[in-house]
Symmetry: C2
Subunit: 360 residues, 2 copies
């Protein structure tokens, strides 16, 4: 078996020790004599798994007690609808920042339910940066302010928590939750699909302040009502138990790595090295303003775009997978989440240098 | 490693050969050098997996070409909302049969969106049977007729396809899809969570006639719109890729067992043996009318209910798990889906006889 370095944007690399544990206990989990996939979600063993994963997440992110932690289905795209359905209450308006493709999608879905005003929009800059907050327009009578903390496709990441002018702050952290510490108490709601930094696809983490839930708009399905999930410990129906299990193992792995502070240092180091290699050459280029460059997803272009398929083939032959840019923007992209080791980034940099020597 | 006989109602037993294959390729699937959990759902390898699983399901159930097969998230409970949201169109009414706890839940959710008229309701019989169709009331101006083909909690199963008087027929087959052949062309829509006969939790199969989709009611989230999923090959967003993969392996396993016809014979044999053992004794009792007894979920009571926890402990010590009845109805329940071998049912019957000898 040869494992590749996997730079896929999501689903994406999972630490090998997590996979090995899942493999070893796949037919007999926790002494149950059955796979974790086969046992009742109402069993003591599974409820304990669920509770432990919540406690681990609370501890890793220092989540205050007045926040609920939910484990849901449907990915971030379902959250795009759930957020207005649950948070609008009697307001008719919400404010969104538009900083890339995922912001755009969130806005489009919210417009089904309310008037959206856009605080800042970097589309005219091809999403290569974010305007200073002093230039934002925030309607302080709106229900909440939504922003995408890390734009997976455009490689744009907020380096700070925005000032929401008193509105509940809502953030899509699908691609950077658990990659660095931050102050949860600044937020009304945080959500993240698991398939980047938290495990495999099929489960979505929602961290929401208690007082914001319980007041859905008319016509909201039960499964899209945060308060119903909260009352049932995220087991309103059968949860995606395998994905929950993998999430639990990944949280354990993060603890074993020294927690979110230590991963943040490593993530900084990995990203700095890769950006430095890109910037050191005219052969490669990253278009994002240095202040807003993502530490997680690093898109890059070749000066001669005709060489991009050649580069991809060259990388694949060297055991580096998932480097193709998103189909909507083209180019190349290295996603270097928590589970990507520094050695993988160094191998990529070596390969980029070799390729430039051969083709530059 | 000792594997138990797992009678859990869901999540439930998966064939050991499926688990062993998943285990063997957990770190390196299909020569990718990565887990199936780690690779992009847009990769050729994963898209091929998705297409093959659809083709296998189409072949196993002889699904006509004018039906779409969707692989969704959120379980049957999400379908309870999606069905009215997608099928009501300009109608304000739907007809439901109420034959157990799951019918009740489906009705309650549908009432968010429309007036529900109940064609037949067996609550007054404690859900121990289903009234003759000649006694049903069907509003032929309604949008559709919904029924629950197998009631997992009450152990009640339709032995026939109801006559819907021209309405699109919608069926929850969460706990018996793929357990026997049937004529898909009689239906407008069929749905099933995977965690009983089709794999692990986290993925839901929907089979829907082409002409019924594309006309959602106002306020329907994109993720709850069948037509959007249909257009994107069930990849409107990142799908639950592990659950999809296991589903594919389970379909392969069903083929290897001789397909749905052969499994139907085995399921009949397993159920007949267990009901015969229950009926042969005054010590055990199943309350359901023989015409409507489920082949999948067999609830049974002890004449002396105080012995039920003793029986459960006795069974556990013998390696038989998951026999506790649903918390809403108590008693005992043996779920004997496709993956439960005849030997497991025979072991249960032996154990019931032994227990009766010791405690009768």
């Amino acid at each position: 078996m040869t494992r590749v370095y996997n730079f896929s944007a999501g689903p994406s690399a999972i630490a090998e020790s997590v996979l090995k544990q899942a493999q070893s206990e796949l037919l007999d989990w926790n002494g149950c004599g059955a796979s974790v996939m086969e046992i009742s979600h109402r069993s003591k063993a599974f409820i304990s798994l669920a509770e432990q994963s919540e406690q681990r997440l609370r501890s890793l992110l220092a989540i205050p007690e007045n926040y609920r932690v939910l484990f849901l289905q449907g990915g971030a795209t379902t959250q795009f609808a759930m957020i207005p359905m649950n948070l609008l209450a009697d307001k008719q308006r919400a404010v969104y920042c538009c900083t890339g493709a995922w912001s755009q999608k969130a806005i489009k879905e919210a417009e089904i339910y309310c008037d959206v005003t856009v605080a800042t929009d970097s589309q005219s800059d091809q999403y290569t940066g974010i305007a200073e907050q002093s230039n934002w327009t925030i309607d302080t009578q709106a229900a909440y302010l939504h922003y995408t903390d890390n734009e997976t496709i455009h490689g744009v990441e907020f380096g700070y928590i925005p000032d929401s002018k008193g509105l509940p702050l809502v953030s899509d952290m699908s691609s950077n939750l658990l990659s660095r510490p931050f102050d949860v108490s600044r937020f009304g709601l945080i959500y993240a699909g698991a398939q980047k930094n938290i495990g495999c696809a099929g489960i979505t983490v929602v961290i929401v302040r208690d007082d914001l839930i319980g007041n859905v708009i008319s016509g909201t399905p039960s499964m899209l009502d945060y308060s119903k999930h909260a009352k049932q410990g995220s087991m309103l129906n059968t949860p995606p138990s395998w994905s929950w299990y993998i999430l639990g193992l990944v949280l354990e792995w993060i603890e074993s790595q020294g927690g979110v502070n230590r991963l943040a240092e490593l993530n900084r180091e990995k990203a700095d090295k890769l950006y430095a290699a890109i910037d050191a050459s005219d052969f490669y280029r990253n278009p994002v303003h240095p202040d807003y460059r993502s530490r997680m997803n690093i898109p890059f272009l070749l000066a001669d775009s005709a060489l991009e398929p050649v580069f991809l083939k060259y990388a694949q032959e060297a055991g580096l997978e998932g480097l193709k840019g998103h189909r909507s923007v083209g180019g190349l992209r290295a996603s270097i989440y928590n589970a990507m080791p520094l050695s993988g980034v160094e191998r990529l940099i070596d390969l980029m240098n070799e390729f430039e020597r051969d083709h530059g």
